[in-house]
Amino acid sequence: MSTITPTPTRAPHGDLPPAGGHGRADRIGSGLFDPKQLLKSFPDALRKLDPRVMVQSPVMFVVLAGSVVTTVLALSDPADWFGWAITGWLWLTTVFANLAEAVAEGRGKAQADTLRRARTDTVARRLAGGKEERVAGTDLRIGDLVVCEAGDIVPGDGDVVEGVASVDESAITGESAPVIRESGGDRSAVTGGTKVLSDRVVIRITTRPGETFIDRMIGLVEGAARQKTPNEIALTILLASLTIVFLLAVVTLKPFAIHAGADDQTSLIVLAALLVCLIPTTIGALLSAIGIAGMDRLVQRNVLAMSGRAVEAAGDVSTLLLDKTGTITLGNRQAAAFVPVAGVTEADLADAAQLSSLADETPEGRSIVVLAKKTYGLRERDQGELTGAAWVEFTAQTRMSGVDLGGRKVRKGATGSVLAWVKERGGRVPEDAAALTDEIARAGGTPLLVAVQDADGARVLGLIHLKDVVKEGMRERFGELRRMGIRTVMITGDNPLTAKAIAEEAGVDDFLAEATPEDKMALIKREQAAGQLVAMTGDGTNDAPALAQADVGVAMNTGTSAAKEAGNMVDLDSNPTKLIEIVEIGKQLLITRGALTTFSIANDVAKYFAIIPAMFAVAYPSLDKLNIMGLTSPESAILSAVIFNALIIVALVPLALKGVRYRPVSADRMLRRNLGLYGLGGLVAPFIGIKLIDLILTLIPGIG
């Protein structure tokens, strides 16, 4: 066979359900939310009331300060029910904000606990001067060599430098099927905490204890290592400046009110209530929860982002570099057609092809047997059925497989090898064989020759067209990406001709053929110089520089530790197609922030219409006309606005955690939709909400 295909290290789990069909609408957007989480996280929310923690969010810090001030005021006048009511709801507003964050973090905590169980203290068998010594796993240093045999827990992250072993990585990936780890090549990385199931390997430790992959994972899912992302910082600044603007508006309102003769109606409690209603508390409260939930959505898809910055960058990606094999095409080529030379029937060729492939256990060989069965009903013959058959197995050296049945010898394999075999036996090669070979190659396929030697001498019967099979639904998916403004570039080691054919079939925008790691690197730099943000996946050590250079580099968990170190995300499933989902999650994260910011700011209009007449209708009766909601009394109007402001936070927690529904459409359509939903919705919703709360409040005796 012409290619050596990697054996899958994992059960067929790699081929995720194709895009399209079921589950498409909420491909990105799921994420469970259980209302019980709110109750469970309540104690955590209270713990977060520490001002040193709260100061991280300027908006909520102002609310906290407001709560403290109103508490003091309420204490100084304990008979005033209104003061207590406002105080209570301001505290609730603060707690609700913390609750959102606590719920978001809570989901990661469960995951972290599972991981912690894997990080048991291990005893390492360190090799020192050719001798083995037993040391604690925590005493290992970078460069130490350790031995692991069946049943041992790998003591730390490292690369296998000697031997092959099957390893149970379920502790980190959740996947129970064991994977093969071997020295050299791209599957040498082992992770501390995983278990060696068979054989013996020598591992060179590559990380310090406490900084291992599992340690970092725990930090990431718990959100302990969470830093604000650039975009989050920019948004925080904007929100802080809006807070200052409203602080100014409210602080200066006191002298204005005194001048207007409305001193009594603008007590500090009322002003604090107005301030909290005006500053963008909704987004301020949910901002960090949105970020944590975004990371969490990735974790649910078994992707670990090393920083929130990477998740955000994923949303900005404008060029996707996708490896052909495994991402765009199924991992292996498959037989697509039998092409006989003149004078040979297709059925005869199929029969010979199947016979010669029975001893070929590679996926390509299997696909030939299957194709013959499918198209000609040729039953797959068991090797044992044919007595006296001498099987010739496929090897990388001969690049041929076949069978000798008495005087009949059948062979199939790479064109060069088979041609040599035929010529060796003085056989003839039909004139059209070369033309047919070229034709298949031009179409992007790989030609295999089938030849036979029998009483008529050695001769070529025809060709097998091996084809890269483009995964189902990829074309549509690339179309979606194009509409989102993302260009896809296919990377392949194939020749340009083959690459072009597959690129056209898959519908990618561009391709890089006969790609070396240097070519890949040069392509990334070129794209970046043009201002594009590049995302790619990779697993090999030679991918590491490109992974580091790319704006979003997703390393496969099966890859080398060098690759995992270089990338800013690790896909535990090692499924390169997931890059597309990662981009969508990144976008969804930003959209959710924008939507809630818009909603939060639009909310203010209604609150003014509730509170301004409540404060000033006594001084200027004409301002009562602004009370368009017809709220019952000044007290209930202000209280309703404050209650709405607090409740809307809780109401939006599920949205913040799940993320705004995302569909791959153009920026224009997306803006129109979100602006309508969250802009206009944010304008109208509080009018209705405040009125409803007011109606309920009037039912309570003593109010209204």
């Binding site: 100014l248 404008s318 930003l590 910011t597 700011i601 301004i612 301002l623 224009d668």
Partner: protein, 554 residues
């Protein structure tokens, strides 16, 4: 023809004239600021002030140029007023008091032209023509230079260079403001405005007694007063004075001059940024606000009912019969939505809502279309804020004209939008709380509050118009309004130029289908919404206690 129909016709004629003139002027200005040729007089100027006009400046040196030049201008204008009494050509007026001289100097250098003096009773020919009129040109040219620097920030990439301040200043004056104001002055003279250096005339009145009228280079100052969105009148009555604004035609022409450059600069912006459509989106947002405000103003002024108004045919108190309700309303909106501040009627006498519209117009930051230069950069700052919120909603790090709006850009834009609300609300609060400033109010209650709010709004936003009714020539008001004017003008410029520098250094992001289209009506609409909500919400409580309380009562 009913007055309403006449008003509509005037507005239509105005829009048509602007539409015709903005294209060639915008293109001309783009050429002026992009050319590398220097005319002979320009070379003389560069040699005289000792600068190399071809030297590119990064934002700190550009800013140093702006600030140094403006500081020198303030000092010069201050001294000129302080020695007026001992100079010839001063019509015998004495020197100006220090607090008023500071206020006036700050005001004219900052393109505000707040006047706490009466022109015909305080300023002679030398100060008027040699000091104030000169600043009318230069302060306008400074505003345009800063706007052009910001546009270059968007247009250029991977360089921190924003052009040369001195070249921009000189070119804006020589190639844009001077030629148009010469034509403008001629048109005004043709309409009947005066232009002379005569002394004070004693004129008899119909009712007996005499009146003093002085002459002056009025038409020339009037042209640049409007064209440069300065607004400082030769006479106290400003554009209501028949020597400044003799008839409805001159009135319409003056409004045209006010709006000409600010609107045309959007075309310049589109040209220089390499996409005319981007300029149209900004123009669209400005035009929607301007036309909307004008329509509202006409509606509230025409709709005003009551016995006195019925007899007068509408809300005519404080308005000139020459211009009527429509001519006054269009002028009032144009002057407050730009940083002009010239008035042809008393804003204090408008209906409650009408007064509110003039106030809100200034509080929006004077960006629709705004002052010369300052309108464009103010609007672009709002465009950055709008793009940030909207950009997030399409799932990308927001970008405008290919430049990423990141932490630094938002920080600078946020600082920009903080300055004027802080000045307006802060000073108004202190003035209302202190006993002495409050004594300057003519009215009590909501209207009195509007007087003070209007004064600081006008000062901090560099408008310069007065609500009337407030005695502003007190040390308190002269000083605080002077400070508000200077901070309101130059602090935002610091942030604009820093922003321009940070943008110019960036590598542009190529446009894709995932990019938010900022040259579409949807975005222009979003921009209008952002402006109205963000600035509207800031001032809502203050407006409620002033014009709204008044307007809703009637």
């Amino acid at each position: 023809m009913s007055p309403q129909a006449a008003g509509l016709l005037q507005l239509t004629a105005l829009i048509a004239a602007l539409a015709l003139a903005c294209r060639p002027l915008g293109d001309h200005m783009a050429k002026v600021y992009s050319s590398d040729k220097h005319s002979r007089p320009e070379k003389w100027i560069y040699r005289a002030i000792g600068v190399n006009p071809a030297a590119e400046m990064r934002w700190p040196s550009y800013l140093r140029g702006v600030l140094a030049f403006s500081a020198a201008s303030v000092l010069f204008l201050y001294l000129l007023q302080r020695i007026q009494g001992s100079m010839p050509g001063s019509l015998g007026f004495s020197s100006i008091d220090p607090d008023q001289a500071f206020n006036t100097a700050a005001s004219f250098v900052a393109n505000t032209n707040w006047q706490s003096y009466s022109g015909e009773q305080a300023m002679g020919h030398v100060v008027q023509t040699g000091g104030l009129a000169v600043q009318n040109f230069l302060s306008a040219a400074v505003g345009m230079a800063v706007a052009v620097a910001l546009v270059r920030g968007f247009a250029r990439s991977r360089t921190g260079e924003l052009g040369n301040f001195w070249a921009d200043l000189v070119r804006g004056t020589v190639r844009v403001l001077l030629p148009i104001s010469v034509i403008g002055a001629l048109v005004l003279v043709a309409c009947g405005a005066i232009q002379n250096f005569s002394g004070i005339h004693q004129v008899g009145q119909f009712t007996g007694g005499t009146q003093e009228w002085n002459g002056g280079a009025v038409a020339s100052q009037e042209a640049i007063k409007e064209l440069g969105t300065n607004g400082g009148g030769y006479f106290n009555a400003n554009s209501a004075h028949p020597f400044e604004n003799p008839n409805p035609l001159s009135n319409l022409f003056e409004i045209f001059l006010i709006l000409l450059i600010p609107f045309a600069l959007t075309r310049t912006f589109g040209r220089m940024a390499g996409s005319l459509r981007q300029g149209y989106a900004i123009l669209g947002a400005m035009a929607v606000i301007w036309i909307g405000f004008t329509a509202l103003m006409m509606w509230t002024e025409f709709a005003h009912r009551g016995p006195a108004f019925e007899i007068a045919g509408g809300a005519m108190e404080g308005k000139e019969t020459r211009f009527g309700i429509a001519g006054s309303s269009i002028f009032a909106v144009a002057t407050t939505l730009t940083s002009t501040g010239a008035v042809n009627s008393f804003h204090s006498s408008y209906t409650g809502f009408g007064g509110g519209i003039t106030l809100l117009g200034m509080q929006l930051g004077e960006i629709a279309p705004g002052g010369v230069g300052s309108g464009l950069y103010g609007m672009l700052i709002m465009a950055v804020i709008a793009v940030f919120i909207a950009g997030l909603m399409v799932g990308r790090t927001p970008e405008y004209l290919g430049k990423k709006i990141g932490t630094r850009q938002i920080k600078l834009a946020a600082c920009y939008i903080l300055v004027t609300p802080a000045l307006v609300l802060g000073f108004t609060a202190v003035a209302v709380a202190l006993p002495a400033p409050a004594d300057s109010m003519t009215n009590s209650g909501a209207h009195g509050f509007s007087e003070i709010l209007y004064a600081y709004t006008s000062g901090a936003n560099n408008n310069g118009s007065a609500f009337a009714g407030l005695d502003a020539d007190t040390p308190w008001f002269n000083t605080t309004i002077g400070i508000a004017i200077l901070l309101g003008r130059f602090l935002p410029m610091v942030f604009v130029l820093a922003l321009a520098g940070s943008l110019a250094e960036q590598r542009p992001v190529p446009e894709t289908a995932g990019t938010l289209r900022t040259d579409k009506p949807l975005y222009a609409g979003l921009l209008v919404g952002t402006i109205l909500i963000i600035t509207g919400l800031t001032y809502f409580p203050a407006l409620a206690l002033g014009p709204l309380a008044e307007g809703l009562a009637s």
